[in-house]
């Protein structure tokens, strides 16, 4: 057997680390989707009427839409009636202390490497944990409240801060935006909400941890971040799911609103179950993420490390409305085995002197397909807009694919738009060189891949960067022989 083949075979042998399930008693909706289900979800959450109406409007609009066909991915038709749209771990509502949380849940957190008890005392990260459809725990709430920062589950925000939710919900991603965002608007069950008041520099990382646990369940969470004038926040999200043979749908929406002089850093490490090595199972990750730099001099920076999911379809975007506002997108997307990714960004320049920067690093291995799709749009009144895009692809083996679909629309002559793209392969020569220096092949792959992705990884907060590096190495472990 040729070495390349051997390499590829070993590459595919790696098992997903978070594939376990825990038997948590769940409170679920009946399978399928109709107006009653939408009402059921809304009722479960004790939602006000305006929100139920909003959901129903979204649902009715969704019925008129068709699933998008343009992404460079293939999958069997999804039967939206075969999905459970609401599943909640049964537990006491709003636990007062950790003692009141189901021990099985605590066990889940420990397995995920999130020790809530430790979290409370030691680390500088406030965590909101969402399992299936509901938020089950949020740490550091009180500390943050002293600064006027609101960080809570979406459901809580609806009840406690309706004026904020009402004002910003759907303001960046309208309920009619696209098939999956509209579906989410109808059936979203929980998620995280954060509000950073004027002039406050959020002293710790805010983070949401998403976990799909129940079978046949879709996860539809919503995240809404509102960052007021001159405020700053760094937000992290992580996700895992059990290994199941059937595909699971995850259609989330993230909205970010940045006022004048505000700055938001949004980092994702996405590690949903990717399916097994034969391409059975895995999460369909169809996500709409968008931020608006509404005020002058504001900045939104997206960083994503995408290693999981059978299919990833997401384009974290920035609407640069305020003058001098800045949008950034840093991405590492890894696909292995039969994974498919169609991911990138949209940078919409509206304000004057707006700047955007796109750094996308794709890594394809196994029989996977990895596409970058990005739009840079300079509107007519966006004087002196600048964009720099760099799209690199790294191929491992000869059975995978890397694709780049850049779209550039320039309507103002003063714009400067640059696009660079490269494609390279991890060479046997590089691996042999490392081996000869005493570096095992697995370490060599990790070294080479991390070197390749360095520009993106360095954007992540420290603890996360270390995690992400390990995750990259794990995803590609056994990839090369």
């Amino acid at each position: 057997m040729r070495k390349e083949e051997q390499i590829l075979n070993e590459f595919t042998s790696r098992e997903y680390e978070y594939g376990w399930t825990i038997d948590i008693e769940a409170d679920s909706a009946p399978m399928g989707l109709n107006e009653d289900i939408v009402r059921f979800i809304s009722a479960k959450k004790n939602e006000p009427d305006w929100l139920l109406e909003w959901r129903l409007k979204a649902y009715r609009h969704w019925l008129t839409l068709e699933e998008p066909k343009w992404p460079n991915v293939t999958y069997p038709k999804i039967n939206y009636q075969d999905i459970i749209y609401y599943s909640a771990p049964k537990q006491k509502v709003n636990p007062e202390s950790l003692d009141e949380i189901d021990p099985e849940l605590i066990e889940t957190f420990n397995k995920l490497g999130i020790n809530l008890e430790e979290q409370k005392r030691l680390t500088g990260v406030a965590v909101d944990v969402v399992i299936d459809s509901v938020s089950v725990a949020t740490t550091f709430k009180d500390t943050l409240a002293e600064l006027g920062i609101i960080f809570c589950s979406f459901n809580e925000a609806v009840n406690e801060h309706p004026e904020l939710v009402k004002k910003y919900l759907g303001s960046v991603v309208p309920m009619t935006d696209n098939y999956f965002a509209t579906l989410n608007s109808a059936v979203f069950s929980d998620g995280s909400f954060a509000y950073i008041p004027k002039g406050v520099h959020c002293p710790m990382e805010l983070s949401t941890y998403f976990r799909i646990n129940a079978a046949n369940t879709g996860q539809f969470e919503r995240t809404l971040l509102v960052v007021d004038e001159g405020a700053y926040v760094s937000y992290l999200e992580g996700c895992t799911a059990p290994a199941r043979d059937e595909n699971q749908l995850h259609a989330a929406v993230v909205e970010i609103y940045a006022a004048k002089n505000a700055e938001v850093k949004y980092s994702t490490v996405q590690n949903w179950y990717p399916g097994n090595k034969d391409g059975i199972g895995g999460v369909y990750n169809f996500v709409t993420k968008r931020g608006i730099c509404a005020g002058d001099n504001s900045k939104i920076s997206w960083t994503q490390v995408e290693t999981g999911s059978a299919i990833t379809w997401k384009y974290p975007s920035c609407i640069l409305k305020g003058d001098n506002s800045i949008g950034e997108f840093y991405s590492v997307a890894v696909t292995n085995n039969y994974q498919q990714a169609d991911t990138g960004t949209k940078m919409i320049h509206i304000g004057k002197n707006t700047k955007s920067r796109i750094v996308s690093k794709g890594i394809s291995a196994g029989k996977s397909q990895n596409s970058y799709r990005g739009l840079v749009k300079i509107s007519r009144r966006a004087e002196n807009a600048r964009n720099y895009s760099q799209c690199d692809s790294l191929l491992m083996g000869d059975q995978c694919g890397a694709h780049t679909f850049p779209y550039i629309e320039v309507n103002n002559k003063s714009a400067q738009v640059e696009h660079e793209a490269t494609t390279s392969k991890i060479g046997e020569d590089q691996l042999f060189y490392c081996n000869q220096r005493g570096i095992s092949t697995e370490d060599a792959v990790a070294l080479i891949v991390n070197g390749y992705a360095k520009e993106v990884l360095k954007q992540l907060p420290m603890e996360f960067a270390v995690e992400a590096q390990k995750l990259l190495a794990l995803t590609l472990e056994g990839s090369v022989g």
Partner: protein, 253 residues
Amino acid sequence: MLKIKNLRASIGDKEILTGINLDVNAGEVHAIMGPNGSGKSTLASVLAGREEYKVTSGSITFLGDDLLDLSPEERAWKGLFLAFQYPVEIPGVSTTNFLKTAVNNVREHRGLEKLDAVSFLRLMREQMKLMEIDQSLVNRSLNEGFSGGEKKRNEIFQMALLDPKLAILDETDSGLDIDALKIVANGVNHLKSSDNAIIIVTHYQRLLEYIVPDFVHVLYNGQIVKSGTKELAFELEEKGYEWIREEVAGISI
């Protein structure tokens, strides 16, 4: 230290080494010379364990072990080092990071403690002086955009850090100007000891003016056809490889 017996090796269907015999002991410097295509680089690659080359018969013992049973990295851990003729580039991986990974991997397998960042940098700085390596070079991605001379110096620099028992220098002199050649030779001479051995694979005698070999072997058509001392290298320089060809032809007739 190294014992090669009747080694035959091929790439694809083509046999390149047709029966090599060579003994190398600790403290010795051996030069392997020969015209293009005689199998010099193949021998170096087979010793380091490059997979494209298939050993069809013969044996190699290295420090008591069957070398052919070991993977390339196991050979490195045991103390075999190859200075590449064409060092590869690894974008985004700083030379320092690469070297630290290599040194600690090797140390771990030699039963030594891993070096922390401070101790490693100290060790690296010492060796940088020796090889006249500039700080800016080790901050750059490994070999990326290095000049030919910088790449070759970087190879010997790595040799210094990894402290091998047997170093094989594959055409290290090619593409070097005289100043770089001297730096490389000084480095190698400094690393030479009674505990280690060096095999210099070269087409020209030039490097051997600075690193004096104890033995010179002439490789021709995949075999060592002549062995001698450093005088043999001078003779080759003077007469070229033609007379070897004639001599070999004479023997075979």
